[in-house]
């Protein structure tokens, strides 16, 4: 069971890696949407959930989500935006693009777990 964490901040990637590892996921990291899309494509069969930041260089999170959702075979992949974006209009754009759930920064492990459960992502419950 793998998760892909896409964030230009090494700090945030490290935080998310730590949480997702505790939840039983093998974590793949990417530093921007383009890098993320390449890693997603390469590991798509094993990746259950993607945690993606919005505000990134090269390719932002919204562009990443649109690129993934354009491909029908990825329709079942869960995409969670981990972001500071809180404006309703921005959130609506992301939902329209195909985001399954939002996690607002700052967040706690408990909040992330709750959001993952909401979208039916399998967790190693002994660690939750």
């Amino acid at each position: 069971m793998k998760s892909l964490v896409i964030d230009d901040s090494r700090a945030m990637r490290r935080i998310l890696r730590s949480i997702m590892s505790d939840l039983g996921f093998d974590v793949i990291e990417a530093g921007d949407g383009k890098d993320g899309l390449e890693k997603f494509t390469a590991e798509r069969d094993d990746i259950e959930v993607v945690l993606v930041d919005w505000n990134m260089p090269v390719m932002n999170g919204l562009e990443f989500v649109k690129a993934v959702r354009e491909l029908e075979q990825f329709a079942d992949k869960k995409l969670v935006m981990v972001t500071t974006e809180t404006e309703p209009a921005q959130m609506a754009r992301a939902l329209m693009a195909g985001v399954d759930e939002f996690v607002m920064k700052p967040f706690t492990k408990e909040i992330l777990v709750e959001k993952l459960k909401l979208i039916g992502v399998g967790l190693n419950t002994s660690e939750v």
Binding site: S9, M12, R14, I15, S18, N55, P88
Partner: protein, 162 residues
């Protein structure tokens, strides 16, 4: 070492205009970040901003669009190290210098994003920029500080007119 000029009282020059961002709101953002996410001991009651010297670390981020603003966070290297230690759940001795800077960058990224969220308008958030203080601080900015584990962390907010 030449200290940088900074008003030594928590100030809110935006009190008289239509700014949506207040000292109380910044305090709430700082409290949420450090208490909930990093489980650090922060007192969200504003304190007088400390004098900043050339070795103080600075992380800045800009909002541009229908509203424009600059947000900067200042911390000593020791405090930035403590933040990184909490953020990465590791020992200070295991941290690389760039990880300490990353941690402070993430602090301003979260606060900047929260400020952007207050604006119900089309805006973009820049990427954070971290380093030591290189330029004079913005004039007429809202500057406040908070006690974070016994050390001050300073937040500067400056809204720019179009």
């Amino acid at each position: 070492m030449q200290p940088f000029a900074i008003d030594q009282t928590a100030s809110d020059p935006n009190d008289d205009d239509d700014s949506l961002v207040t000292v109380d709101l910044i305090a709430q953002m700082v409290d949420n970040l450090f208490t909930a996410m990093l489980e650090m001991d922060v007192d969200a009651s504003p304190i007088a901003p400390p004098e900043l010297d050339a070795e103080t670390l600075s992380a800045s981020i800009q909002i541009s669009g229908e509203r424009s603003a600059l947000i900067q966070v200042f911390a000593s290297h020791d405090l930035a190290t403590k933040i990184a230690t909490a953020m990465f759940a590791t020992e200070a001795s295991d941290l690389a210098e760039e990880e300490i800077l990353d941690a402070l960058g993430e602090v301003v990224n979260v606060i900047g994003g929260n400020v952007k969220g207050v604006y119900d308008q089309e805006c973009a958030l820049s990427l954070p920029c971290v380093g030591t203080i290189q330029t004079p601080l913005a004039d007429n900015a809202m500057t406040t500080a908070f006690d974070l584990g016994g050390e001050p962390i300073t937040v500067l907010f400056k809204e720019r007119t179009q």
